[in-house]
Amino acid sequence: MGAIGTLTLSGGISADAAVEALAGFAAGDARVVVVEAGADAGPGAWPGERVRWLWRDYPLPVVFAFEGRLEGAGAAFALGCDIRVCGEAAAMELDGESMDGLTAERARTLLGLEAGNAIPTRLTAGEALEAGLVSRVGPAGSAAEVARGAAEAVAARGPIATRLAKEAVWRGLDQPLEQALRFETDLTLLLQATKDRAEGVRAFLEKRPPDFTGE
């Protein structure tokens, strides 16, 4: 099934190859992407522009799964994604000192830290869950399966709705609340003009699963 694009960051994959694979998913039938941190080296570098590209410009929701110790480019990649999940033995290392500005800004956003506050250098799975940096933790070794569960939920939703929801959350967060609420209203009205939204309401009232076509 092509609704979930899967990308593994290992085997010496380059950052450019990762970007190309993600662009391919967005151009095809995928509705959501699962990125798995590999056991061996991922992309050598994932600069702040690409972190921002993931949350701000990449249209599909991305779920990031990791086990073990996540650091460097892999951790930066994870920060750019929408949803992070991990196994209970995992840990995330964030080297605030060496982070570029955009990556540090994203880390602070996700951790709810004010500008200038120190970014914690290491978070265990439990600490990352407490902080909301990851939203789901499973038994060690189950991260990919947990990510798949979340991705299957996203893939079953209206695909225009999930794209606009991603945009509403991350682009809205940078706006003053009053403006952000008007932004949400306008995205809502845009959705009111879609077939999927009519199908979603019809299916609910007819008590059957919706058949979203992305129109």
């Binding site: 929701p61 929408d82 949803i83 992070r84 956003t109 996700l110 951790l111 709810g112 869950l129 407490e130 902080a131 909301g132 940096l133 990851v134 939203s135 789901r136 979340a150 939920a153 996203v154 079953a156 939703r157 209206g158 225009i160 709705a161 999930t162 606009l164 929801a165 991603k166 509403a168 959350v169 991350w170 809205g172 967060l173 003053p176 609340l177 009053e178 952000a180 609420l181 008007r182 932004f183 949400e184 209203t185 306008d186 995205l187 809502t188 009205l189 959705l191 009111q192 003009a193 879609t194 999927d196 939204r197 009519a198 979603g200 309401v201 299916a203 609910f204 009232l205 919706p210 979203f212």
Partner: protein, 210 residues
């Protein structure tokens, strides 16, 4: 037919707004939105009101907006104008008194977005929270895409909003979606305690700031 939303102001100045459509799990329809608009204006303008408490009659706080009314708006332009002119959620966010939500059962969609405009959320242990709008091909539109990521860690908010899946009180407490969870039998007492605290001293508004 009983009123779909009730307003009662006690002698302490606590205005209690009750969603009163229990046979439909307090699904919020247009008539209820109109009543909320009216009552919230009254709370804003009434000099004696010192706090507002929201509650739901029956088994749940509210299962969300009344979906059977969806698609009945005259036009997109009219919908936009109506939302801007009667901005219930914006009015709620701008009220100068503390707002407390008493939550139990389903708190889904608008049934979570209304409490997200409040300062304090106290829940029964059985409460479930979700923004399931994407399951119907739309997005939260009572402020949820903006208030949730400003209330709980935004990555956790993105999970709830993108998957549409519910969470219970454990996750809700962990991420600060609610401040307390108690057995349902103790819920009224816990809400009273919060109200007493808010009425007796200075307080900081806990809601996202406009």
């Amino acid at each position: 037919m009983a009123d779909l939303v009730l307003l009662d102001i006690d002698d302490r100045g606590v205005a209690t707004i009750t969603l009163n459509r229990p046979e439909r799990l307090n699904a919020i329809n247009m008539a209820m939105r109109d009543l909320l608009w009216e009552y919230l204006q009254a709370c804003r303008d009434h000099p004696d009101v010192r706090a507002v408490c929201f509650r739901g009659e029956g088994r749940s706080f509210s299962a969300g907006a009344d979906i059977s009314e969806f698609g009945t708006a005259p036009s997109l332009w009219e919908s936009r104008r109506a939302r801007h002119e009667r901005d219930v959620w914006g009015l709620l966010l701008s009220l100068p008194v503390p707002l407390v939500a008493r939550l139990h059962g389903y708190c889904f969609g608008a049934g979570l977005e209304l409490p997200l405009c409040c300062d304090v959320r106290v829940a029964a242990e059985d409460a479930r929270f979700a923004l399931p709008e994407v399951t119907l091909g739309y997005i939260p539109s009572a402020g949820g895409t903006q208030t949730l990521p400003r209330t709980i860690p935004p990555g956790a908010a993105a999970d709830l909003i993108l998957t549409g899946e519910p969470v219970g009180t454990e996750e809700a407490l962990r991420w600060g979606l609610i401040s307390r969870a108690v057995p349902e039998a103790e819920l009224d007492a816990a809400v009273e305690e919060e109200l007493g605290r808010l009425l007796s001293g200075p307080f900081e508004l806990g809601r996202p700031t406009l």
